[in-house]
Amino acid sequence: MTSEQIGNLSEVLVWATLVCFTIALVAFAVDLARRTDARTTSRAAEKELVGAGGPAPSTGSAAAVVEPVETPTRRRAAGIAMSTTVLGDLLLLAGIVSRGIAAGRTPWANMYEFTLVGSFVAVTVFLVVGTRRDVRFLGAFVTGIAAVFLTLGLNVFYIAAMGVQPALQSYWLVLHVGVAISATGVFTVAFAASVLQLLRTARDGGAALMSGWRWLDRIPTPQSLEALSFRLNAVGFVLWTFTIIGGAIWAEHAWGRYWGWDPKETWSFVIWTVYAAYLHARTTRGWAGTRAAWFVVVGYVCVLFNFTVVNLVINGLHSYSGLTS
């Protein structure tokens, strides 16, 4: 196969991934809805038992009664969702590898490739966390964000596979950019957890807007979502710190200065500061919990801004999208 054919194959694989993630997104959403139904059923069953004149059962035993009934229906959609997510992730990995072969270099040197690898890392982090605990409630959000990334990548950021200019010919491309994308992927999953935490808190607090969102009752408590988000953000923050240090070392080699307040550098600094503020906020009285979660939202918005607007609108030394404006 010529490198052009391999490049085309890569594109087909990415399209196939997008299809998988979309199916997974729907299945995860169905799963969330079913769990809501199951909850309603469980509440109804509780009422029936009470109504039948029996002794009022504790919540624990009611759940034990209802559990066997709801299990088969509720888990089928989630099973489909998980297997299509795994399939999509493998296809995406194949797409990334073939892209690298077609271009003859590390496959993360422009925005299109960044969306591929970023989505891959986000979904992989979700799957890896999923092997240790049940985070399937996050699936709809993670596959949803990944699907949006891939759609944007294929339609807006796409450029054909090619080599890179001399400034990018360095092993730091593998390290600095690779770690930056990984951090973005980790931040993505953490962001999903924090958004759910905020939604759940709002519903628990009786927000009128959320009164119909019964599925929120079935996701974990805000406290455990906060803990999940923090663990991911801690990893993301360390990766981001490495991204900045690695970037500074590379800039020293390529541009003759380790820090020059280039727009990309500035926004990396802003992101670092926002997540640093988040880490401090969650240990400050009166700022932990909901307020700290807002920092995650702001931080992730900065990450997206750094990736899109800074690359495409604000011109700097980091403008490697390959797109001609």
């Binding site: 090619m162 080599g163 663990r231 590379w250 390529a254 003759g256 307040w261 500035t266 503020a277």
Partner: protein
Amino acid sequence: MSERTQYKPEGIADEFVTTSASEGVSTGSTAGGGDGPRLPVLGVVGWLRWTWRQLTSMRVALLLLMLLAVAAVPGSVLPQRGPNPDKVLEYLGGHTTLGPWLDRLGFFSVYTSPWFSAIYLLLFVSLIGCILPRVAAHARNLRGRPPHTPARFGRFPAKASAFSTASPDDVVAAVGAHLRRGRVFRVDLGAEDARGERPATRTVAAERGYFRETGNLVFHIALLGLLVSIATGQLLHYRGQAIITEGRGFANAVVDYDTFDKGAWFRPQELSPFSLTLDDFSSRFASDTVAFAQARDFTAYVTVTDADGSASKQTIKVNHPLTIAGAKVYLQGNGFAPEVTVRDAKGEVAFSGRVPFIPQDNVYTSRGVIKVPDVSKGLEQIGLTGYFLPTAVINADGTARSAFPQPENPMLVLQVWSGDLGLDAGVPQNVYKLDTATMTAATGSDGKRAQVLVAPGQTVKLPDGLGTITMSKDIPRYVALDLRYDPSLAWVLTFALLALAGLGVSLFTPRRRVWVRAWALPSGDTQVELAGLARGDDAGLQGEVDRALAAVPGADPPTNSATHSATHDQEEPR
């Protein structure tokens, strides 16, 4: 930046839970409390103490962090003087009302502005104020022992219990030995006498993760070190830029650089005396349709002559700077510097030399200016502006463009001006700009501005009988070299890596306490209870307690921590 903890379990009163106590706003010497609402009267010392407490409080540190993030943003949106002085002038020209105000407020040099500096300096003062007491506390804590085993385990987040056929002494010894393994835990074994209904009990108190706070402190101190080394680098550094054409060179002296930039503490005699000659320059560009004309490689082949006269051949590439005597030489740009000879109307050589043309795009459409002041007496000075095209293509309408960055069909396309170049006024001029205020453009017979096309080796007549222009057959390349010396680099890197290591340790080292109580039951068995407490969220805490449980000898029957923790509250002796 003290870490606040959420939980306050019973029986523990130490730094684990009380570091947050300093946060409360204390007004210092409040006077006259009690008789009605009166403002507290603060002396100067009181105010200072209040200010210091505020500044070093977590809330203010948080505020400063957010301010720092917000303050950094304008610099990415507005052009900045440092990297883009031209863009700043352009912006000022386009915004006549807003521009001067932004300029006055320092928005075109955000990162050196007083307000940006104030934020980060305050942040670092706050950091120092927070770190100093914590270093002292941690130093004491490092020598401390694990806190005593609490009387009740009921409210701890991780619990386990078991019955054992071994004696309390053996249980405590075995669990203590398990926890001591690998020196992860600091372990104290203890014994409590029987008191009231409480039977005589053997205890274990263990704590791990002292490095968590160590990492946290190292991270913050390293940030301080980073700031100091960056500032020192700013004072000691120098940087010079020079354009060198093939076959020529430059010596490392301030006068040999086109631009020279230095810190306040730099002395010119610190420049190490070496010289550098550009032997050759090679470039490679993609020629396939997908990435047409994209750069693929630039290499400058140079000869470096050291102070002692020894010469060595070296290469400089993008991403591979050359290190000479502690200074680094970077390849920052390249282009063509055609050798041009201009003869005036009298046939005298008025100018001869290499003229660097600056590439404007990826096909090296390069702009340049030739100033010819030294014409024969009585003649007007000549100025030529225009383009050098490495691979010239003449369009149907007579305009020319470049099709490829390599010199396959080089051509100079110039407009000709005559008059006064303005060089005699003594005002320094930009060599890449022609001041045409006192010059007139040569026009052709059709009334349009005349254009001169010169190919290599050709001599072409200038319009209006001004003379002739010749371009040499070979087109020399030039490189833009950037020489930089910053003795603080190693320190900057060291502190950055220390910060990273400290951060990793402080975020991922679990800080855990494990306690064990073991006492003899009337039946002859031993009742064993374990409890765990962690700082912050710790998913592995129950696992830690379960592993300690597994170390209990003679457990009977093999216990399940989850079921036992539900029942042991009732069995606990009161």
